[in-house]
Amino acid sequence: MSAPLLEVKSIRKTYPGVIALSDVTFDLKAGEVHAVVGENGAGKSTLLSVMNGLVAPDSGEIRIDGQPVVLNDPTVALANRLALVHQELVLCPNLSVAENIFLGREPAGRLGKTRAMLNRMAKDLLDQIHVNLDPSRAVGELSLNEQQIVEICRALACRPRVLVFDEPTASLNDDQVVHLLAVIRKLKANGLGIVYVSHRLSEVMQISDRVTVLRDGSVVATRDMAGLNEAALVALMVGREHKPGQSAYKERRCGDVALETKAIGKAGVFDDISLQVRTGEIVGIAGLLGCQREAVVRAIFGDQSIDRGEIRVQGRKVQLRSPRDAIAFGIGFMPADRKREGLILPMSVGDNIAMTILRRLGRLGFMKRRQRNATANSLVRTLAIKTNGLSQLASQLSGGNQQKIVIGKWIARGGDIVIAEDPTRGVDVGAKFEIWRTIQDLAEQGKAILLLTTELQEMMDACDRILVMSRGRVTGHFHRKDFSAEAIAHCFVA
C-alpha cells in the first residue's frame, strides 16, 4: 500500500509558558474527508497554521506522499498542492471574482488577454463545482455566501491534492450547507484528500470518513466516523459526558407585546413586514440568504431606514433614525459579525461590556470606575466569561467568550427587547450551550427576543414562534407546536 497523501507526525509547538500542540499525529488518504474537531483552544488553529506554513513547529514533520516537506511559507504549502480555505473571508473586494480566484497564480498572458483568459478559467472552475456566478463581478458586491464560494474556488485553482477547510460553513445557511457538502463530496470523488474543520458536528457526521479529536493541544482520538454518534464525539471533545440537548428550552408565560412592526417596508429590500414579539417570548425569523431578514432587524434597530409602516415599542409608535434611538427605547442588538460590528477589539473586556452604559457610569463626565468594574465583574461571572481580568483586551479572547461579551453588554444595558443575530456563529460546543441557556434566561426574565440563526434546527430548539421570510416578505408563521423543518423549508422558497 502506498503512503498516505498527507502525514502529520508528532507536531509540537510551544509558546512561552504554553504548549499549543503536543505530539499531534494524523494522516489523510486520497479521496478521504478527515475531520478535525475540538473545542476552541484545543489547538486546531495552530495546527492549521502549521499545515499552511504560517507557523513553524518546534518539532515533528509533515509528509506529503511520504516525502517530508518543510512548510515555512504559505507558498510552499501551495507548491506542495496543499491549499487552505480560510474561515475568515480573505478576499480583495476591489478585484473581480476571477482575479480573486487566481490571485498569485495568474497565468502569464499577453497584454490585454489576461482578463478574458482569467474569466474563462474561473468560469470553468465554477462550472466544475456547479456554481453559476459571473467571474467578472467585483467581490465587494457579492454576498457572504458568494464570497465563500470564491474562497473555495481560490483553493481549488491551485489544483490541490489536499484541501483544508477551516469552518467553511460558518456564514452559510442550512440550504447552502447542503450544497457545499455536495461540492465537497464531488471533490472527494475526484480523489482529493480533504481536512475538514468545523464546529457544526452534524456536518462533520455527514461528510467525514474519519475524525481526529483534539483537546488541549493533543490528539485524544482518531476514529472512523462510522459507528460514532454525536454524543460520543462531544464527549471526546470536552472530555466529559455532555448532553447535546442544546435547546435548554423551557415553557414560559409570555406577556404583553413589547415590539411590533406594522407593515414596514423599504423600497427594493423588504415590504409589508408585520411582526410582534411579547415579553418573555423568543421569536425567530428564518429564511435563506437574501431573504432580507438582516435588513429587517437592522431597520428595527435604527441602523437602516424604512419608507413605510410603523414600529411600535411597548405599544408606542417610535421613530428610529439611528441605533441610539433604538437603544433609548430599550432595544439591544447582538450582531453576527463580532469582530467587525460587535466588539472593539483593541479595547479591554471591561470597556467593551461598559460600552452600552457609558452615560450611566458617568458622574460629571467621569467614569465611575468602581461601579463599572462591579457591573462588568458580575457579568463576567454570570456569563462565565473566561478572561484574565477586566483589563484583558477583547481581541485576546476566544470566539465564544467574545460572543458572551457581546451578549453581556446588552444585559448590562438592561433593555426589554433583544435582537440576536447568529449568537453562536463560530462558537464551540461548550460555549454554544451556555449561550443558548443565557438567551433562554433572558427570555425568562421577561425580555422580548428576536432571533436570527443560520441553522434552522437551532432556531426550532430555541424559539416560541418562527416567522419565515423569502425575498423580502413574510411567507410563513409557525408556533412552536407546529414546528416542522419541512414545512418551514417549504416557505423558504414560497
Binding site: P74, L91, C92, H130, V131, L133, L142, Q176
Partner: protein, 339 residues
C-alpha cells in the same frame, strides 16, 4: 445541475463609464470656459505651458497613485524629486576632480557630462523610494510616519549637500528635456506620457502590476495567496521614487538649476491630484489613467484662474473647496450605489 445560482452582473462599457465620469465633464467645461472667456487660453503657447506643468505634478501623482494603490502614502516625493538631482550633481562634482576634470565652473555651473547626473538621479530616486518601502514593509513603520521622516530628512540633506548654493545645469541635452518640443508637444510632457504608458502597461497589462490592487484591496488575502506583499510594497515605493526622480529631472531642466528649497509642499498637491483622479486613500482603487485626468483637471483649472488673473489667495481657496467638494461628491455617489 447547478448547485448555486447567483444573479448576473451589470456590465458597464469603458466609453460609457468614461462619459459618466464627472471629471471628464469638468475638464471639458474648463477648456470650454477658458476658450470662451480668454483669447489667450486655447493658444499653442498656453497649451504648452499647461502640458509642462502637468508633466511635473503628473509624474509625482503617478508615483503617489501606485503607492496609494497599496493602501499607503508617500509624503517624501517632492523632497526626493529635488534630492535625487542634487545627489546626481554633487556626486559628479566630487568625481570630476578625481578624473582631473573641473566640472564646476563659473560659480556653481555644472559643466560635466549630464547623462551620469541623470542616471545617478534616477538611481537615487529608486534607492530612496526603496528605503521608504523597506521601512514600511519590513520594519513595519506606518507609511505616513516613514515618509514624513524621509521628507524632513531629505529637506535637511538638500541644504547640507548644497550648502545652500544653487547649481546651474546648462547642458544642451538638459535644455532639450526642459524646453524642446516634438511635433508641438513639449519633451517633458512626452516623457510624462511615456512613463504613464509604461505604468499602465505594467499595472493593467501584467499580473505583477495587478497585485498592487490586490494588496490595497486586502493585504491579508494577497499574503495568503502566496504573494510576497512586502516586495511589492517596496516596488511601489521604488516606482514612486523613480517617478519623483524623473519629475525632478524635468523640473530642474526647465529651471536649468537645482536649489535646495524648491518644490516645497508639492507632496500635498500630488496627493490631492491622485485623490481628485479617484484614488482611494484606503487603497485598491485608482489608476494611472485616472490620475492623468486628475492632473489635467487640476492644472487646467489653475491655468484658467491664472489666465483670468485671479490672485493666488483665491486660487488656494478654490483648490481647497474643489478638493473637498469633489471628494465629497464621489463619497456620496459611492454611498448611493452601496445603498
Amino acid at each position: 445541475m447547478t448547485v448555486l445560482e447567483f444573479s448576473t452582473p451589470r456590465v458597464a462599457p469603458f466609453l460609457l463609464g468614461l462619459l459618466r465620469d464627472p471629471i471628464i465633464w469638468l475638464i471639458l467645461l474648463i477648456f470650454a470656459v477658458g476658450t470662451l472667456t480668454s483669447e489667450y487660453y486655447f493658444t499653442a503657447l498656453n497649451i504648452e505651458n499647461l502640458m509642462r506643468s502637468i508633466a511635473v505634478i503628473g509624474l509625482l501623482s503617478l508615483g503617489m497613485t501606485v503607492v496609494l494603490l497599496t493602501g499607503r502614502i508617500d509624503l517624501s516625493v517632492a523632497a526626493l524629486m529635488i534630492f535625487s538631482v542634487i545627489v546626481g550633481v554633487v556626486v559628479m562634482t566630487e568625481i570630476g576632480p578625481m578624473l582631473g576634470s573641473r566640472w564646476l565652473v563659473r560659480g556653481n555651473t555644472y559643466a560635466g557630462p549630464i547623462v551620469p547626473v541623470i542616471l545617478i538621479a534616477l538611481a537615487t530616486g529608486i534607492a530612496v523610494g526603496a528605503l521608504n518601502g523597506i521601512g514600511v514593509a519590513y520594519f513595519k513603520v506606518a507609511s505616513f510616519i516613514m515618509t514624513l521622516v524621509s521628507l524632513t530628512a531629505l529637506r535637511g540633506f538638500n541644504y547640507v549637500l548644497t550648502n545652500g548654493h544653487p547649481y546651474y545645469l546648462k547642458a544642451p541635452f538638459y535644455s532639450w528635456i526642459g524646453d524642446s518640443k516634438m511635433v508641438g508637444i513639449p519633451i517633458s510632457f512626452v516623457i510624462f506620457l511615456l512613463v504613464l504608458l509604461a505604468l499602465m502597461g505594467f499595472i493593467h497589462g501584467t499580473m505583477r502590476g495587478g497585485r498592487f490592487y490586490a494588496i490595497g484591496g486586502n493585504e491579508k488575502a494577497a499574503l495568503y495567496a502566496g504573494i510576497k506583499t512586502q516586495r511589492y510594497v517596496v516596488l511601489a515605493y521604488a516606482i514612486s521614487g523613480l517617478c519623483a526622480a524623473i519629475a525632478g529631472i524635468i523640473f530642474t531642466a526647465r529651471l536649468k538649476s537645482v536649489d535646495a528649497p524648491l518644490a516645497a509642499g508639492y507632496e500635498l498637491t500630488a496627493i490631492a491630484i491622485a485623490v481628485i483622479g479617484g484614488s482611494a486613500l484606503a487603497g485598491g482603487v485608482g489608476s494611472p489613467w485616472r490620475t492623468l485626468l486628475g492632473s489635467v483637471a487640476f492644472a487646467a483649472g489653475l491655468n484658467l484662474l491664472a489666465i483670468w488673473g485671479v490672485g493666488t489667495w483665491y486660487q488656494n481657496l478654490a483648490i481647497g473647496v474643489v478638493l473637498i467638494i469633489s471628494v465629497g461628491l464621489s463619497q456620496m455617489s459611492r454611498k448611493k450605489t452601496q445603498a
